[in-house]
Amino acid sequence: MVNPIHIVSIALGVAFALGFLGKREKLALGIVYTALAVMLAISASWLSHFWGNVTEPIQIFTGGFKPPFAINLQMGLAESVFTLLINTAGLLGAIYLANELLKAGKNMMIVFLVLVLGLNVMVMTRDLFNLFVFMEIQSIAIAGLVILNPDRKSIPAGFKYVIATGLISSLLLLGTVFIYYFGGTLNIDFISQESLLYVKGGSVAIFLVLLSIVLELKPFPANGWALDVYEGAHPGIGALISAASATAGVFVLDKLMVFGNFTFFNAISIIGAITFLGSNLLGIKQDNTRRLLGYSSVGQIGLIMTIIGLKPYLGENTKFIALAILLSHYLAKAGLFWLAGMVNADKLKDWGAIRGHRIYLFLMGTFIFTLVGFPPFPSFFGKWQLVMQLANNHHFWLLAIILIGSFFEGVYLFRWLGYAIKWDEVEQNYPKIKLNQFIPTVIFAVLAYALGFYFGELSGYKSTFIYMAAAFIAFLYIFDFLPVFVKNTLAIGAMALYYFANQDTFHGLTSIFFIIFVIGGIITLLAGYTFKGKRTGFYPLVMMMFAGLIGLLEAKTTLEFFFAWELMTAGSYFLIIRGKKSMEHALSYILFSVGGAYLILSGFGIAQIGHTGMGLDVLKDVHYYAPIAFTLMAIGFMTKLASIGLHIWLPGAHAEAEADVSPMVSAILLKAGILGLVMLFLSMGPQKLFGIDVLYVLSWVGVLTALMGNMMAAFQEDAKRLLAYSSIGVLGYALFGLTMMSHLGWLASLSIVVTHFMFKSLLFLAIGGVVMRTKTKYMYQMGGLIKQMPFSFVSVLIGIIVIAGLPPLTGFGGKWLMFNAIMENGWYFQAGIAFFAGVISFLYCFRLIHTIFLGQPKDELRNVKEAPFWMLVPQYIIITILLVLSALPNSMLKPIGQILLNYFPDGALVWHGQLAIGPYGYWNGKLILAIVTIIFLAVFAWLYIINRKAQKVKQFNIVYAAERPFRPETTHFAYNFYAPYQKALGFLVAPGITNFWDAVSDGAHAIADKIRSIYNGNGQTYLAHILGFTVIVYILMNGGF
């Protein structure tokens, strides 16, 4: 083992020696790299020494004397990890900055090297004054590196940094010398807390020391100087400050917290939480890339401060949580800063320049998902563990603050990512890949995945399925150059393989979802054969979404469930954003998803209080606050199924998606919400929150969702939006059925779920085919397509018959069951609304078929062809299944009923062959199908005979007769089809909810804008902030002076 002191001797020796080299800058840089590499190797060798072998840290006595008489350095597991992080960021950061350093010359190389050295010693030293000296080295070195590229931005930023850190370190020094005066030593291990806090002066000294360390970590709002540096400095330096310097600072704070008592820990956690919330809130108003990253850095460090402050509560878990979040921050922030340097786009929207560039987007996506805390990255596990522990300690306020802060962070990070993927108002311009910048970034991205795996292992997360899925996704990503045909076959093959390997694994209710997810996935994937070329990036994402969905079924623990949930969200987000004009919709989708996921997460957190395991069965036995946990989770799941109030993301997201993505996200993905509710309702049953039956409230939400969804569907001009709204309505029914908590209610609900999968895929595929051919989604621009697209017409016809719940097809069965169940429950009001909503669904069904397929064909659409063959294949598979199930309803309802008997033994249907007998009547599917078919044929024949005499109307007979309308579509009959109804009922569907969410968003932006005006750019104001922060924290901690 090399003595760690040689980190110092090598760094300084090399730094001093560079003076000999004169103008040989390249040689100098090479030597600096070597020195950094050796420093890295030393800390790595110590890490390997301490890894998995619990030994006391070693002490290095400088001066040759034992502490407290001389300064000692310590190298243990923690120190080796942190110095390794610092030196890695140092070496890779220096490689990244190769050109800048060469241009700036050896002076800056010296400063760079000394900075890394200073950070190393900050971690290792056990002497307070020595710590002060090396923190000064750090500050001065950063102040020097800020002007690596001196310009009008960086110079004032650097000056503000110098005066602010000058003041802060003076406070540190003042505290330090008084600790010596009152404590008689400067050695951290010898300074005893009791003797110091006992005297007033001693406690002030400790306060000043700890506070100045906190100030170095840039707490909100005393951090304007730091934000300026992040914005003004070269991104490579920003990366170093954010990753390496903050890492060392965090370690120092943790090291010095031995001085503090409980009050200090509390204060730190509160300061951290406020910083996290505050900076992320201000971040949402930010449009400058580097400053945005600055806000995010400050926020993340605040979060880690909170964790350090919570040490007395978190105990042994502190290490895991803090490291998971710190590492994610370290990798992601350095990576994003580096990326920002490569892409070199000042404004967030300018990132649209890299849209379509696979590698840049892959890196950016990796880092952003790492920051937000998505699986499989370490922060996901860290955040999970943090939430669980906060709940265990009943720290609900802190929990809320942290999740809200994370949400804000999601807002700006995903908006940024959206711009990079989609913003097409800037010219596409791929920056040339420079290897010295590219390689460090890639290394960090790879590390993010590797460490995610490691932290997953540590948290006891092991899902063979997810690992296999991940391997397959990676395979698809690497072999993305293959043609669609091959990849589609592979994807279908994988799904089929999974199906056959596991068809006996799932029993009970999960088997229903298993069929929907897997078989549904295969059927919708068939449509993928339509596409030509490579369809870059599509298959890894689809597989990610399906892996998440299946992961939900495979999950045995709450952690596995949540992992899968987030995986599915991530996959579907990327699928949705692939669509045209989908940037905003994908953003609102992911934000609602993240918000919902946080509610679920906190629900899980509350549910496991007092439990040791994390198995999903903890939900069956919730010790504390069960109604609250129940409500949180219910709302979380309802976000996914777009219940009224939480639905505004859905129409855009589903309508703008690609032709075969719409059926996936609409017909399959939404069922994840139902799955969650099923699991939740079964485990926790009815809950009373403040004396109100939550399920009763949800039943109203369900019927109202059905009503509003259907109404809004009826008033759409856009065919895909119509279908999207109709999904909202149908899932409202499904929710309503579940809330009844009875056999019939659930049978109705689940049969609707299964049927909805079929008719919604059918309709979205059919309409998707039409849209593909007609190149428009507006129904008034179609019309009369029945001759050109007869197969699609039949599909839509069958689809709407099912959707409207008309006999003879299966939709009717669902409705029939639903009304039976409602009567049984005695919910007559809801019954009325549900019935009314059903009537409205006729309206949009009629509109859909009439305006697209009937009436006069448009001139320009006379030559459209039938939908592509591979779009029709899945449709006709579904139609076949639908017809079979309609004729033999017991082939679907009976097994579901059988499963439900385990949960709801009473009130089941009684079956006699195809005859189902419920409490309020009976239904024979086969008979009805036969009767209706006969009647239909009879009426059809009669109409056909009569209508032969009808006069054929020429295209221009009616429309445009004597007008020159400015908006010609307004004269089309299909435009504003239901104007009279809209006049009568339109107020109900006025975009009140959208307005509400817009107001929430505007409000948050306005608040952020107001608050950030404290950062007026004046260095002196920042000094006053620092001073004010000190005084206020002191008063709050001591209740006076």
Binding site: F129, I140, P150, K153, I155, P156, L174, V177, Y180, Y1015
Partner: protein, 124 residues
């Protein structure tokens, strides 16, 4: 009150007063040079505080010579530690002040202004 009428306390008080004056200068003076002078005052005050801390009643400088014998050193000398610290502190102060002044020079060269209010381009 009598306990405060000692040499070291008065020196210490002087240091604190300098710190306060320096701080006032740092937060109120718009001129960059004056701001740096404020910092320098703060720093000097801090150094005086450290030095006055080293004083032990009726002691002499911590140097072994004719006046102080090795055997009785512990009872005769002032605390050498703060004196060592102040040396470091002075040098660091010097480094920081030099850096600040270099920044001021450079800023003045860019904008021909010494008013801190003219350097608020980066904000929010």
């Amino acid at each position: 009150m009598a306990q405060y009428l000692t040499l070291e306390f008065i020196a210490m008080l002087t240091g604190f007063i300098l710190i306060i004056i320096g701080l006032w200068g740092m937060i109120t003076q718009k001129n960059l040079i004056k701001l740096v002078i404020g910092f320098s005052l703060f720093d000097t005050g801090l150094n005086i505080v450290i030095v006055s801390m080293a004083y032990v009643k009726n002691s002499t400088a911590p140097i072994i010579d004719k006046a102080v014998d090795v055997s009785q050193a512990a009872s005769k000398i002032a605390d050498p530690v703060p004196q060592a610290l102040v040396l470091t502190s002075i040098v660091i102060g010097l480094g920081v002040t030099a850096l600040m002044l270099a920044y001021v020079l450079r800023m003045y060269r860019e904008k021909k202004s010494l008013d801190i209010n003219s350097y608020t381009d980066l904000r929010w």
